[in-house]
Symmetry: C2
Subunit: 350 residues, 2 copies
């Protein structure tokens, strides 16, 4: 399968699209007008791996707060705007790094011209954000009242053409639906029509567990095909949880690295050590370790050594004991209660 | 994309493959020789949605325990056997519903003939289970010591040809690697070569969180392409956790139904009710409800009503209030503290 490769658009210091790293983003749940709460949440998100942050801009007070927020954070700031072009003008003046607005929804062509002019001047890209829940009425009607992937793409193309008509191509696009199939199909269809970088996400995914599964499947499927210059995991939860999931998806697909990776076997009737406990302890011990290494925690000798051979460090359990591997070589065999210490010792040596 | 459609194989009462439902399976972590512990675990797994259960059969004592286990459970029992063909003969005599064994690893052609004969007589399918961690040495050598998708498929084809040579085609196949790319590529390659039903899984996926993300991406990608007659989510955790993830994957892809589905929005600066809390309460309240319905819990009026319209029941939050929808019609508006009760009342009416 050929991977999708988009054009490149700059958001703050980051190049998005092409073969650049897929960037993790989130959206604040705070009231944007409350600068200190918003900044506090953004700083916490930065620590957790957030690389681009979006805030809702519902009114002019929020728009005017953007400059103050921007000064106190270290990652690109995106203004999320609906319907009101004047908020976009103000956000641009306040120095945001990207604006999310749908140009077909902001009134006259004059309004679009003004937004485009300021974005060109400030070199700010615009994200067109299509959401299955808010498709244009005529498009909904055309598809018999149903939200379809084709309808979402049609809506996106309409907004894209408006910006292109004004010779503005500094564009990113998202097409979020609340189910996997429509989301994946919409992005696939759009990727055949345009080469703009795509912001991917499954919206209204749900609470932590359901949202983790939904986002992993939907975003994982797209990323595997090269679709996705930046991703947002949407969870009905503290946005810090979104960071955990987003990074785990990127790490699972080997698209980004962040900290230690622990693989472990599911255990079975052959396992002769307390593997679940061991794997959890290892995971806990390396949680904040700033190394890009792969550790394998394996219960038995059937697949254990084979798997551990591929990891930087590994253990394959036997009867009340474990064989510690390092880069494919057995370095020692230890008793079960010494496995964790022996593993950590080998990790330290790397 | 054309979906893969396999042949159909029967495992106990279930038809696997073709357009039949994708079945959820797991593997016991108990010692199979300990019949009461094993039965206890299987009964708990049945309640959690396990539809096929596998147990390790490391020796003849375990093999002889299979009949006793089988009598006390309600789902098909699979014997997991390595290297020893006599254990397979005994397992078949004990009445198991499927045997997992790799015919290339059980010695002489005579041994294969005996296993095939008893499986034909008892109408038991054989699963060939290829695992990246235990590839044949000559295949590993051919691929320069690396575990590759091509090498895994080559190994599978070797075992398949042995069974086919004995005119045995009651086969399922798995190709598990510990990373997503090799797993997905191996299944895709094999799906172009054979039409046997495929048992899918990412092995050594890790602890609950990492394993959930890995399995969701890997299995989700395959299921989306029609690959997967039955699935196993491997977690280094209590197998009950595997059931939760497996079902959530199938529900997310709308391949199976089980209980109530709750979607909810990620909240943002526009949200004017305590949505995270509400979504969690709704999820908790419907957890054990035996209805196949879709509930949407939405924070604001931008996408809320559009999304809620597609759900059986929905709420879109406003300022300290919520509009309750039912099959696309607003049925009432209530104060924030009355939303949960109003939703549950509407659910009860369905």
């Amino acid at each position: 399968m050929n991977k999708y490769i988009s054009k490149v658009v700059k958001v703050g210091p980051y190049k998005l699209g092409g073969k650049n790293p897929v960037r993790v983003q989130s959206m604040c749940t705070t009231d944007t007008r409350d600068v200190s709460s918003t900044v506090k949440q953004i700083l916490a998100l930065e620590k957790a791996g957030c690389e681009i942050i979006r805030v809702a801009v519902p009114d002019m007070v929020a728009a005017k707060a953007l400059g103050k927020i921007k000064k106190q954070i270290h990652i690109p700031l995106v203004a999320d705007i609906h319907l009101n072009y004047e908020l976009a003008l103000e956000a641009a003046e306040q120095g945001v790094d990207k604006i999310r607005i749908n140009p077909g929804n902001i009134g006259t062509d004059e309004n679009v011209k003004k937004v485009v002019a300021v974005c060109k001047k400030k070199k700010i890209p615009i994200r067109i954000g299509i959401n299955g829940g808010s498709l244009e009425k005529d498009i909904l009607k055309k598809y018999k009242g149903k939200v379809t992937a084709a309808g979402m793409v049609e809506s996106a193309m309409r907004h894209i053409r408006i910006l292109e008509k004004h010779n503005f191509k500094n564009i990113l696009i998202s097409l979020k639906a609340s189910d996997i199939e429509r989301t994946v199909e919409a992005y696939r269809m759009l990727a055949k029509k345009v080469k703009y970088p795509l912001h991917i996400g499954v919206t209204e995914a749900g609470t932590i567990f359901r949202g983790t599964v939904m986002s992993s499947i939907g975003l994982g499927t797209l990323l595997y095909e090269g679709i996705g210059a930046t991703l947002r995991v949407s969870l009905t939860a503290d946005p810090l949880e979104e960071m955990k999931v987003a990074w785990e998806i990127l790490k699972s697909l080997k698209l980004r690295k962040r900290g230690v990776t622990v693989t472990s076997c599911p255990t079975c009737g052959r396992t002769q050590i307390d593997l679940i406990n061991l794997a959890e302890k290892v995971e806990e011990a390396v949680k904040f370790m700033d190394k890009d290494i792969h550790i394998a925690v394996m219960g038995c000798v059937v697949n254990g050594p084979g798997e551990a051979r591929e990891a930087d460090i590994g253990v394959a359990g036997g009867q009340g004991a474990g064989a510690i591997f390092r880069h494919g070589q057995v370095v020692k065999s230890v008793k079960e209660n010494e496995i964790l210490a022996a593993l950590l010792e080998e990790i330290e040596k790397l």
